[in-house]
């Protein structure tokens, strides 16, 4: 009986989430980007154009029925490259947030639950990292290392974890005086157990919402580093890098910068719409 109620409840919840049309649009965009990233090898009309292949007979062609986004200075199909570019953006978003959550959440739990000097040290540390705009910190770190996709992910993660620490610390402070936590302490549960088994699950919805609203910004920051030459290097079809490469051929070959940029806009918008929907659904504030 109970199981039945749960089964009926779950689709109801999803329906409620998707009742908001903008959230649905976001979900569709994100699904398409994920699909493009996974199946780029099969759906891209010219998969070989992802590498540094050169065909001068096809260079700089205007968008047409055969090359819907046109071709670049080396005769490569921009549409195929944009499809493959989805991989770079998704990897960027997922890896940076995984690292940021992996570092930030445990530190936030420890700071909030242990309190005292531990809390002071951790929170002062986050203050230092947050005292500088994350994009500038990412640029500074990326600048010091050799430019590559991996290093740009390291650079962005470096400045992103404190947001999760601050969020989870605040949540932990709210939860730590709840009855069930006091009860666990009363029966002698260890601090680690209480923090990671009792408190963490109660922070999950906040963490999920924060991650879903952040992923678009991570992708945007990654593309910005790519644009500055601090991310993935040509001929990799990373969107920011493609915009920077195409800039040289302005104003005549406008399509070389326009379509990769549009891909960034649509992808980030999709994630933001979905993130907004999730935030309203879980009814949590993460700003």
């Amino acid at each position: 009986m109970e199981a039945n109620v749960k089964e009926r409840k779950a689709p109801g919840k999803i329906r409620k989430l998707l009742k908001n049309k903008l959230t649905l649009v976001g979900l569709i965009i994100v699904a398409l980007v994920v699909f493009a990233a996974i199946f780029a090898d099969f759906i891209a009309p010219h998969p070989s154009d992802v590498t540094g292949s050169i065909d001068f007979s096809l260079m700089n062609q205007l968008p047409s029925s055969q090359y819907i986004f046109g071709t670049d200075e080396a005769g490569r199909d921009i549409f195929s490259r944009v499809l493959f570019g989805a991989r770079y953006s998704l990897i960027m978003g997922v890896v940076v947030l995984t690292v940021a959550i992996g570092i930030g959440v445990p530190l936030g739990l420890i700071a909030g639950f242990w309190g005292g000097k531990v809390n002071s040290v951790i929170m002062r540390l986050t203050d230092i990292f947050l005292s500088i705009p994350s994009i500038i910190l990412a640029m500074a770190v990326a600048a010091i290392m050799e430019p590559s996709l991996f290093n740009s992910m390291v650079a962005i993660s470096f400045g992103w974890w404190p947001w999760f620490t601050r969020l989870v610390q605040a949540e932990t402070l709210k939860i730590k005086n709840e009855q069930f936590i006091l009860a666990s302490e009363g029966i002698g549960a260890s601090k680690w157990r209480i923090a990671f088994i009792e408190i963490l699950p109660n922070c999950l919805s906040t963490i999920i919402v924060k991650a879903s609203t952040d992923i678009g910004f991570v992708i945007l920051t990654g593309a910005s580093l790519g644009f500055l030459g601090l991310g993935a290097q040509p001929p990799a079809p990373e969107w920011g890098t493609m915009v920077a490469e195409g800039r040289v051929y302005l104003p005549t070959m406008w399509w070389q910068t326009t379509f990769p940029g549009l891909a960034i806009l649509v992808t980030v918008l999709g994630f933001n719409l979905l993130g907004d929907g999730l935030r309203d659904f879980f009814d949590v504030r993460v700003d």
Partner: protein, 333 residues
């Protein structure tokens, strides 16, 4: 008030020292051949070692850090390997351009964002509200460097209305380093017009995402206020709707918006780097990007530090403004 400012600034010292240490350590532990890059491929090993000694790169790290901090007090941010000058002098030359661009963008963002946010809240769930929401959501997702390129392509290259690059061609006597202000102060209207048409496109490219954030924040806060008892009370007294919105709700809603404005200033300066790169704007970005290419660590540390300090300062100003907008917040507390 004075006590509050003093306390606030004292409290910032550990954060600022931490920031300097962080950037300093990063630049020193990462492998690099900045001196070799600066001296060129012809340089002999002796020349490289001599230069490294001159820069103090062979001293123990704590000594290097102490010397760096000591230098900061006398305006010495170390030697830029590329320009051969004190980094502080380079930053002093380039910061006003970045600051002016960010400031004009912030003015545009606030001027557009707050009225549209209020309008959207007042028209809650009507068609115009939906349109503003979708536009602002898209605005946040816009890569500013790409928007800058599109605006440049359309308005400068194709339509020829605005200049393609630069900060202005008419000479303006430098007083503050902000061309718009300096040209007004010296009564140089040709210089003002010239500076204005040069700054407009980069400022718009930079401000759209910020304006979008401010619209969203203003809208959310105004809607929160609408449900408060004092609004109901004011309305039941028969006060005109506009008066309630402007005199009562906006001031309350503005406190949260102010936090967004403060946070966004940091993001504006960060993104100014990208927009500067597109419009050939002679600000800190050009300097920093050259610094990045040449692994000019002192330049990178200097620029990062100045932006960090600037961001911290903006947040102190925001804290002070809270007291103005909300008398309940006691600044001395």
């Amino acid at each position: 008030m004075g006590r509050f400012i003093g306390k606030r600034i004292l409290g910032l010292i550990p954060t600022i020292l931490g920031l300097i240490l962080l950037i300093f350590l990063l630049s020193r532990i990462m492998p690099g051949d900045s001196v070799r890059l600066a001296l060129g491929p012809e340089a002999t090993q002796e020349q490289i070692v001599a230069m490294e000694n001159q820069l103090g790169l062979h001293d123990p790290l704590p000594v290097q850090f102490f010397n760096y901090i000591k230098g900061l007090f006398v305006g010495d941010m170390g030697l830029s390997l590329r320009s051969g000058r004190n980094v502080w002098l380079d930053i002093k030359d380039t910061f006003p351009a970045t600051f002016e661009l960010s400031l004009v963008s912030m003015i545009i963002s606030v001027a557009v964002g707050i009225p549209l946010g209020i309008y959207s809240a007042v028209k809650n769930n009507k068609i115009s509200d939906h349109i503003i929401r979708i536009v602002s959501l898209s605005g946040i997702a816009l890569p500013r460097f790409w928007l800058a390129i599109l605006l440049q392509l359309i308005f400068s290259y194709w339509l020829g209305i605005f200049p393609v690059i630069g900060r202005g061609n008419v000479a303006v006597e430098s007083i503050t380093g902000l061309r718009l202000l300096d040209s007004l102060l010296t009564g140089n209207f040709a210089g003002f017009t010239d500076s204005f048409i040069h700054i407009l496109l980069p400022a718009i490219a930079l401000s759209i995402a910020t304006a979008a954030q401010i619209i969203r924040m203003t809208r959310t806060n105004m809607i929160d206020q609408m449900n408060k008892d004092y609004v109901l009370a004011a309305e039941s007294y028969g006060l005109p709707e506009n008066l309630v919105y402007q005199r009562y709700m906006l001031k309350n809603a503005f406190i949260s918006v102010l936090t967004t404005v403060g946070m966004q200033f940091g993001s504006l300066i960060g993104n100014a780097f990208l927009v500067e790169a597109v419009f050939g704007w002679p600000g800190m970005a050009q300097y920093a990007i050259q610094g990045i290419l040449y692994k000019d660590y002192n330049a990178i540390i200097g620029v990062t530090l100045v932006i960090g300090l600037f961001f911290v300062l903006i947040n102190v100003i925001v804290d002070l403004l809270y007291g103005f907008f909300d008398p309940k917040i006691k600044l001395d507390a």
